[in-house]
């Protein structure tokens, strides 16, 4: 990577507010190889320059991808990633199969990190506030000097960060020792109450390691472990492994709102908000009655019996809105399971007595003998987020005690409940220094901004789980005039004349290496070739991953505190309201997470898995509640209480509890960037009271009520689903399996019997006018296992990233002009006991008998030798007949000549042409990867083998629900799945399209 080539951004450009890059400069980057590459496709200019490297790089062959292992820093799961670079630009992120946390998958949020990296609204150079209060560019030297100057003054110093670990944590600790910085950590997504409860119940602070692949029954109080909770990629993968094992496996999800996890659960029990604790206690009582708990000491047992003495099942049932039978059923399942798992998390478990709920869960796990089986205490994550420290800091700030405040990877002005008054408090701080990558609310209010490089441009590491030490390495040079946070801190210390700061290391890269050297010796490792070879090996693999520890189990130590369980329902703050009370239910979604991903067009355009809403915030409310409030779908809903007011478009659904208004966190930005700012809907965190419980170190998300009224305006809520149900059409097929007959293992056989006429076993005996076509060499096919597809949408984002799919914006989405080649069809079917949510990835089926092909007058689409439904973009004249005739509606037309900001254009995949206006496009099974795979195989002198080629969706799938391969090879994974009892092809039995995609029926275990 020639750093000389990729420095962009100048003062003038930032002041003008322009996109910065001129085409000329852009080509300097893009053309670092021998050609201007695919990005130029949007202009198709005949005259091109070609710029060779000044110096050759050993790794880089122009036109050949280079991969770097690294770590995803989007949430605190710590998934490993592989960064694909072309001519010095990162073009795609994929999961690192070596990393034990995600083992190959990568969620939508992680996939979209590229867009944060190439965000046109990133801060491009250091900025300082001038006397007029405007942010003006400043040189790095001056900026450092400014900080050093401020550090000379008296006053306390603090640094607020998100969750940090590894070398960066050590560096911040050194800030504390050398410069007296208090380190405060805040991250709204951290399940701190869980960690606290673990301390009381198990004896050590932290989040236990959950093994979903061992739990036959999961009782889940609100944890959205497929989407946002702790480590969704890893959990989903474990869950999928359990589902594939053939064992009966149940997830019982208790939550007022149907979350993604609820939708995938075998049983979703909609509860009244805050009633989960009662339900947990009832389950505990029942289990005790059934004689569970023999493994516990009599003391503990007695205390638990005491705790549950007053629990009355009927009362609980009434309070929760969950029928008595269901509760008893859940207990029976738990009781009968060899290993089960009880967890609580997400918003439902974020009340002011969250700690009690977590303790109940912990005890349930003990009662059910899950500790050591599905709840492992050996490698606990230790979240450091602490609301009390934040509150103390803000109190101190208000008193004017603080002279310098550093902000790193955190946006307190947005992500803290505004009732904590950070925005007021920060004004008293002498110098607020932000190390943000984006001009978010906090950075925009800071006095000095030292823009940090993203994790794709920096060195770093993540040691979030003991035993998993992940490295971050720069996959490319910096795009803008930014520096790694660590470098900046070291430089500041140098300017402030702190001796021997950071061990006297020149920069953070060296500091990191030194830190790893320490780690190397602490772990007592002894690699052949010493530390250096260990280091190189780690960089190559993406870190050092310890083999699973054997033997030694951590002993559970129940402390007396653990029995301090408040059994009553949590309190709700409804200050400042006057009638029309609703419970505010803010939740984390994969689309906007805690607000950090709001400026990524991919995620904004990604339909929310449940609501299918794009480019908006929304308020889900029950149809009964909506009727009461006089609100219909798409109306503006105003929520108001003492703390604040938000206006969000209403989404009327049957899948939230009565009186609950569920709003995703993360939208309603007032700063941050062009995409984030155009979203209708406010920041729901503004409605939250400051701190509802002194004992919990996390924001209680479920603690506010608000007055709801119909607001003004027509926000034009855009949801891209054409229908909420599949109206009885056998598209997404599923079986609701009864296991009372203990026919667990045969469940899938049973399904096949029942629906055998649609299964793959059934030979098509359809009369055809023409002979069945043969594919002599390869016939590419894909299999989608609906039973393990969670609808997490990672594949959708992966597809956008790989195939240069245009993002069209809210207006075009509203008109039905979204471009996603791969969409996830979501259907709610059946009611009551029959209720089922289907998620169905729908992409081009590459039909053997494609309806789209014969209708094209110019052969822009035709059937190729390898079974692909080829689409030749530049031949297309745009009759759109193919789209009409596509039964699966997966063809997308370029209604506009779509625009892409220049920095985002750096991400474009040079192997895929950018489509111009007026032509049709669609999924090609990532034909560029197929070509590349064949090319590689040819170099090796063999045929393509199974696994050689993975389209982007298949690669990114956290649960491996997708498989790709050659259908001519009977041993390929996709062929084997095609012979599965559950296999079927969508619509094939109706219209004989002979799709190359096999779907495997979903199944849910029901009573």
């Amino acid at each position: 990577m020639s750093n000389e080539l990729v420095k962009i951004g100048s003062k003038r450009e930032l002041q003008n507010g322009s996109n910065g890059l001129s085409r000329r400069q852009f080509l300097k980057i893009a053309g670092a190889g021998s050609t201007a590459l695919g990005v130029a496709a949007c202009t198709d200019s005949p005259s091109q320059k070609v710029l060779p490297y000044v110096k050759g790089e050993d790794q880089q062959i122009p036109g050949v991808s280079t991969w770097f292992s690294s770590t995803c820093m989007e949430c605190t799961a710590g998934c490993g990633i592989l960064v694909r670079t072309r001519e010095g630009r990162a073009v795609k992120l994929e999961g690192n199969p070596d990393n034990p946390i995600n083992r190959g998958g990568l969620c939508a949020l992680g996939q979209s990190a590229l867009q944060a990296h190439y965000d046109p609204d990133r801060i491009r150079e250091p900025l300082a506030r001038d006397s007029a209060g405007m942010l003006k560019p400043i040189s790095w030297e001056d900026a450092y000097a400014k900080v050093a100057e401020a550090l000379k003054a008296k006053g306390k110093r603090a640094i607020i960060t998100g969750e940090v670990s590894g070398a960066e944590e050590e560096l911040i600790a050194e800030l504390g020792t050398a410069m007296q910085f208090e380190h405060v950590v805040y991250d709204v997504s951290q399940p701190v109450a869980l960690a606290q409860a673990s301390e009381a119940a198990y004896g050590s602070y932290g989040i236990p390691e959950y093994r979903f692949d061992r739990a036959e029954v999961v009782l889940n109080f609100g944890a959205d472990f497929f989407e946002t909770w702790i480590s969704p990629c890893g959990y989903a993968r474990d869950w999928a492994a359990m589902r594939r094992s053939g064992k009966v496996h149940r997830v019982i999800h208790v939550e007022p709102r149907l979350s993604l996890t609820g939708a995938n659960a075998d049983l979703w029990l909609p509860s009244q908000p805050g009633s989960e604790i009662a339900l947990g206690l009832a389950v505990m009582k029942r289990l005790l009655e059934k004689g569970r708990g023999a493994n516990l000491s009599s003391d503990v047992r007695a205390k638990l019996a005491e705790l549950t003495r007053s629990v009355d099942l009927d009362k609980v049932s009434a309070e929760c809105g969950v029928s008595r039978e269901k509760i008893l059923l859940a207990v029976d399942y738990l009781d009968q399971a060899k290993t089960s798992l009880v967890i609580a998390g997400g918003t439902a478990a974020s009340t002011d007595n969250a700690l009690s709920l977590q303790l109940v869960c912990a005890f349930l796990n003990m009662l059910l003998e899950n500790v050591g089986e599905s709840v492992l205490l050996e490698n606990m994550r230790k979240p450091r987020s602490s609301l009390s420290k934040v509150a103390t800091l803000i109190a101190g700030m208000k008193k004017g005690e603080y002279g310098v405040l550093f902000l790193r990877g955190v946006n307190p002005a947005y992500a803290l409940p505004s009732s904590l008054e950070y925005n007021y408090a920060r004004k008293t701080v002498g110098l607020t220094v932000s190390f943000a990558t984006h001009l978010d609310e906090s950075a925009a209010a800071a006095d000095l901004i030292l823009p940090a490089s993203t994790s794709l441009e920096s060195w770093g590491d993540a040691r979030l789980v003991p035993g998993v030490y992940s490295l971050i390495q720069p996959a490319m040079g910096t795009i803008f005039n930014t520096r790694t946070f660590g470098d900046a801190v070291i430089e500041i210390a140098r300017k402030a004349e702190i001796k021997n700061f950071g061990g006297g290391k020149k920069d953070f890269a060296e500091y990191l290496k030194a830190s790893w050297e320490k780690l190397y010796s602490n772990l007592g490792l002894n690699a052949a070739g010493g530390f250096n070879s260990f280091w190189l090996r780690s960089v190559e693999r993406g870190g050092y991953f310890k083999e699973a520890a054997s033997g030694e189990r951590v002993k559970v130590k129940v402390s007396a505190d653990a029995f301090q369980i408040r059994t009553e329902a949590p309190a709700f703050d409804h200050k400042g309201t006057d009638g029309n009370l609703v419970t505010v239910y803010p939740y984390l979604s994969v689309k906007s997470f805690d607000g950090r991903s709001a400026n990524r067009p991919w995620l904004q355009e990604l339909p929310d898995p449940i609501t299918q809403v794009v480019w908006d915030s929304w308020a889900e409310l029950n149809s009964a509640t909506a009727k009461e409030l006089g609100v219909v779908q798409g109306d503006m809903l105003q929520l108001r209480n003492y703390y604040g007011e938000v206006n969000v478009p209403a989404y009327v659904t049957d899948y939230v509890a009565d009186g609950v208004v569920a709003i995703p966190i993360g939208q309603g930005h007032t700063a941050y960037g062009r995409y984030a700012k155009q979203i209708a809907g406010g920041n729901v965190l503004e409605l939250l009271p400051p701190r509802s419980s002194s004992e919990i170190e996390a924001v209680s998300l479920l603690s506010a009520r608000a007055q709801a009224t119909r607001g003004r305006g027509n926000p034009k809520l855009v949801n891209v689903d054409g229908s909420r149900t599949q109206t009885g059409r056998d598209l997404a097929m599923y079986d609701l399996v009864s296991t009372s007959a203990a026919a667990a293992a045969a469940s899938t056989e049973h399904a096949a019997e029942q629906h055998g006429e649609h299964g793959a076993e059934h030979e098509h005996k359809i009369k055809q006018m023409y002979e069945q076509r043969e594919h002599p060499l390869y016939k590419w096919g894909l299999a989608v296992d609906l039973a393990t597809c969670t609808g997490c949408s990672a594949c959708v984002v992966a597809c956008y990233a790989e195939n240069n799919i245009s993002v069209v914006g809210k207006k075009a989405c509203y008109e039905g002009r979204e471009m996603s080649w791969l969409r996830i069809d979501r259907y709610f079917d059946g009611g009551g006991e029959e209720f089922h949510v289907s998620f169905m990835p729908m992409m081009c089926q590459q039909c053997g008998n494609a309806p789209c092909e014969p209708v094209c007058p110019v052969y822009a689409t035709y059937h190729n030798e390898e079974g692909l439904n080829a689409m030749i973009y530049n031949r297309c004249v745009g009759t759109r007949y193919c789209s009409n005739n596509c039964s699966y509606k997966v063809r997308r037309f370029n209604w506009y000549e779509y625009d892409i900001p220049e920095t985002l254009a750096l991400q474009l995949n040079p192997d895929v042409v950018r489509r111009t206006g007026g032509i049709m496009e669609k999924c090609t099974f990532c034909v560029q990867r197929i070509t590349e795979g064949k090319d590689r195989a040819k170099d090796l002198g063999r045929k393509v083998q199974d696994g050689d080629i993975q389209p982007a969706c298949v690669q990114g799938c956290p649960t491996q629900a997708l498989a790709f391969g050659d259908l001519n090879d009977p041993n390929s994974k996709v062929s084997r799945l095609g012979k599965d009892n559950r296999a079927y092809k969508v619509l094939d039995h109706h219209i004989n399209t002979q799709p190359s995609i096999t779907y495997l029926r979903d199944f849910k275990y029901r009573a």
Binding site: E4, L5, K28, G33, S34, T35, G38, A40, A41, D44, P46, S47, Q48, K49, V50, L51, P52, Y53, V54, K55, G56, I61, P62, G63, V64, Y859, Y862, N864, E865, L868, A870, I872, Y873, N874, R875, D911, V912, V913, R914, V927, Q928, T931, D935, K938, D939
Partner: protein, 207 residues
């Protein structure tokens, strides 16, 4: 309509006649003659492809005979013909990647640290190179063979299959200034693919 249909039939017949000829003449030059008739404007009557230019409004950069002036008067005659350098010495990635790399400035300097030219113009040009090297700037060559972006052309595959550089690029060793000698239009590619019996599936070359 009538005219169009007539032309179509004539051209099909023409092409089929031509194909037989190409099968018997295995050497590229014989094929090249016919390619010339077909694709290089000598049979404009049959080749109505000029209509395609309505879209581009006539880019000479995409036509045969494109011979742009380069920032440095690099002479293939001197390097290849006189000094017998192998093509792949500089364009080292042709058998490794889809792209044929333009040599890095560093590669040029490998020789030109010692070699500084005999004639004055050579010295001038080499000085330009040296300046670029000192400044750490790349040389902004103008592309001679510009392919549209929807084309997926892989040098590696062609080189490994035994296609020589000259087959497509012409007698580069004799060119003082590089010129595009082939139309490099689709029909030109297809013709060779047909005669060589390689795939004419669209996805072979289109992306």
């Amino acid at each position: 309509m009538l005219v169009v249909i007539f032309l179509a039939l004539v051209s099909v017949a023409w092409r089929w006649g031509g194909e037989l000829k190409a099968e018997t003449a295995q050497d590229y030059h014989a094929v090249g003659v016919r390619q010339g008739v077909w694709n290089n404007g000598q049979a404009a009557l049959w080749d109505l492809n000029f209509l395609d230019y309505f879209h581009y409004f006539g880019p000479p950069e995409r036509a045969r005979g494109h011979q742009p002036e380069q920032p440095i008067k690099f002479s293939h005659v001197t390097h290849v013909q006189k000094n017998q350098m192998d093509c792949q010495f500089c364009h080292w990635s042709v058998d490794k990647a889809a792209y044929a790399a333009i040599p890095e400035v560093e590669t040029c300097m490998g020789c030109h640290l010692q070699v500084s030219g005999t004639e004055q113009w050579q010295k001038d040009e080499i000085n330009k190179l040296k300046k670029k090297n000192e400044a750490g700037q790349p040389i902004e060559w103008t592309k001679v063979h510009v392919m549209p972006d929807h084309v997926r052309f892989n040098h590696k595959r062609h080189v490994k299959a035994g296609v020589t550089c000259q087959n497509c690029h012409g007698q580069i060793p004799e060119m003082q200034v590089v010129e595009r000698v082939s139309s490099m239009k689709m029909g030109w590619c297809i013709d060779c693919h047909r005669t060589q019996g390689t795939s004419i599936d669209c996805y072979t070359c289109h992306k």
